[in-house]
Symmetry: C2
Subunit: 386 residues, 2 copies
């Protein structure tokens, strides 16, 4: 297996764009990405697309060739990956593997979701399809409800507090307010976060990520050829995808995501780094509790210590290990299928030193964690400066 690099990135704004359709978003991200790497569409040897629920949100299936033809990519393998909120993380994992294996030299990986064309109750129902319909969904469990149960259990087991959850929201909103591509550029106070309207107790509106439209893309090449495309190479040191049962009731412990622990372990091993080496990260804060649990599952702190760590300020933009400098899913937005690749773009921007007001102090070793559903899929990626 040969080393692989990200040689181009491209993102749309995340937000609610009533005038934009799914294809135009994906094409915009793809074109920006190709331009960033100075690559023409005709040189792309394979196209990997992550999308969660285009068929349900906009009625379009068979999305990989549908988007590819809009980019001028044809005649090569164009494949759609669906793994709930980790759809484009999964596409990225497979894209990296294909370049590492020497199957291709130039691979475009994108993620897209167009969610806001449906009313919120319909969106909630579509998202619920990432849970287990034969048990959870039948019983009325939406995703806020599932993560509400997870949060409640974490509080019971470890004493995690509402303030600790709110600290994640306050930080991510503070970061997102500085991100020109973020969906909700709005600073919130701890008081506001604590007084949020309940969604699924103990989670309030400020604990939940956003329903967004958006797309993101990266272009991959073997490290040995990276300099042909960019002078700001980000190397993929390790990436792993793992799985677990879909339904929460099939898990021994809902205060930890087994798939994340396993993916992290594999990614650290491949990268040859320790958890404490990670300087900054984009974590999958679909709900505030998920960011807290992720820090525990990634081995930065012990189980139960994620809440105090979040409240301590050490994950703030200028803290010892900034988390979600981009604003995270909470403030940047969460166009489900775009999120995984969007995180990679954000980590690469940091590594390149191009994150502007969001630039973190130490930025040579970053991590992205992308979670599917309530933990049935996890993708962990470690990227570094060359």
């Amino acid at each position: 297996m040969r080393p692989v690099a990200v040689v181009g990135i491209g993102k749309t704004s995340f937000g609610a764009f009533p005038q934009r359709d799914l294809r135009s978003l994906a094409v915009e991200a793809g074109q920006k990405c190709l331009a960033d790497a100075h690559v023409s569409a005709s040189h792309v040897e394979a196209f990997y697309l992550g999308n969660f629920a285009g068929p349900a949100f906009v009625g379009q299936n068979h999305l990989a060739p549908y988007v590819a033809s809009g980019l001028g990519i044809s005649g090569v393998p164009c494949t759609r990956f669906e793994a709930a909120c980790a759809s484009s993380g999964s596409a990225f994992f497979h894209g990296v593997a294909s370049v590492a294996a020497g199957m291709y030299d130039l691979v475009l990986v994108a993620g897209v979701e167009k969610m806001t064309s449906q009313p919120t109750p319909v969106v909630t129902e579509i998202l619920a399809g990432a849970g287990d319909t034969t048990s959870e969904v039948r019983a009325g469990a939406t995703f806020p409800a599932l993560f509400g149960m997870i949060a409640r259990r974490h509080m019971f087991q470890y004493g995690t507090t509402r303030e600790q959850l709110a600290a994640v929201a306050v930080k991510n909103h503070s970061n997102g307010a500085k991100n020109p591509l973020a969906h909700m550029r709005k600073v919130i106070t701890m008081e506001q976060a604590l007084a949020g309207k309940p969604v699924a107790e103990p989670l309030t509106i400020y604990d939940c990520s956003l329903i967004s439209d958006g797309a993101a893309a990266v272009i991959l090449a073997p490290l040995e050829r990276a300099a042909e495309f960019t002078d700001k190479v980000a190397r993929i040191l390790g990436v792993a995808q793992t799985s677990d049962a879909v339904a929460l009731d099939n898990k021994d412990d809902i205060t930890s995501f087994h798939a994340v622990r396993l993916a992290a372990e594999k990614a650290y091993r491949k990268a040859g780094v320790k958890p404490s080496d990670i300087q900054f990260a984009e974590l999958h804060d679909c709900f505030t509790i998920a960011e807290i649990i992720a820090m525990e599952d990634l081995g930065w702190v012990k189980p139960g210590e994620g809440g105090p760590y979040a409240l301590s300020g050490r994950t703030c933009l200028r803290g010892e290990r900034p988390v979600n400098a981009s604003g995270g899913l909470k403030s940047k937005g969460h166009p489900v299928g775009a999120t995984g690749v969007g995180q990679i773009c954000d980590v690469v921007m940091q590594i390149r030193g191009e994150a502007g007001d969001l630039q973190v102090p130490r930025h040579s070793l970053g991590l992205a964690e992308n979670l599917g559903g309530s933990g049935a899929t996890a993708v962990v990626t470690i990227l570094g400066a060359v």
Copy 2:
């Protein structure tokens, strides 16, 4: 890249099974397949699942870990692939690539679809999502309509006749009647086929494949280890996936599928065989015209000669090059996401000499062609006896 073999196969019956859910079908195929290769689920290193529209048909998304947990597979990459009717062909292509590249030794690839829980008009609408919703679907074009246009143009351009289309239906029903796992085990006469109720002229009910439930699975291993699992090894000589535009109006010529031509060319080259070497095949007869066009695109006959070739009887069970000995999508059934892997199972059964009443005379070199939508994805696989 190292040679890869199919070391186990497993299929459910295809049909309408009101008592069965999607997961139980996929699990049945997966378990049969693991048993066939004498492999336990805990040895599976990655799971590739093809499914077209589980979310729309049964409301369940995030299908790869959902099915995997039912099989006892966890902690490894479990990924869903969607490429319309070529969904499991695409999963197979990626699974083969991963073993060829040395990423894994034992990979399970499955396909599943549960369609009959929805009424036919809803199924037609869901299937239409594999076309271009911004042009074709908006104009009311269902898949029978799209293939009706393709057939009409093929008739106009080459003089293809209704009798030639009907010959495909008569042959495939004759074969399927002998297949214990087929959906519609019913012999039809040429007279019946010609008098079929119109669906989208010139296509009648006998030109259209079936709406089915079903699942299929194969297990892949490096050729050098194949003997550990089976004494009836089928070697994958070549496999290619390619793409084209989704909408028919973006294609220069609708009487040929460019993606199939390209995939066939690549697969022949990898396998080191000529079109005329192929002894038998499973072709994607979603509509009778598609089988005729496939034989032209695969280079067996010149453009326009597929119709006369079909009528000549040379593709019958005891003909010079049997096509769809299984009964094809027409009679065996077409559970969309299961079709690609189902074809591979049928080719492997022939290679092993296990096809019973359906056994073809020469069976050491076979081909499977899996088409997505109206040709935006194609997967062509060539398999041989070792």
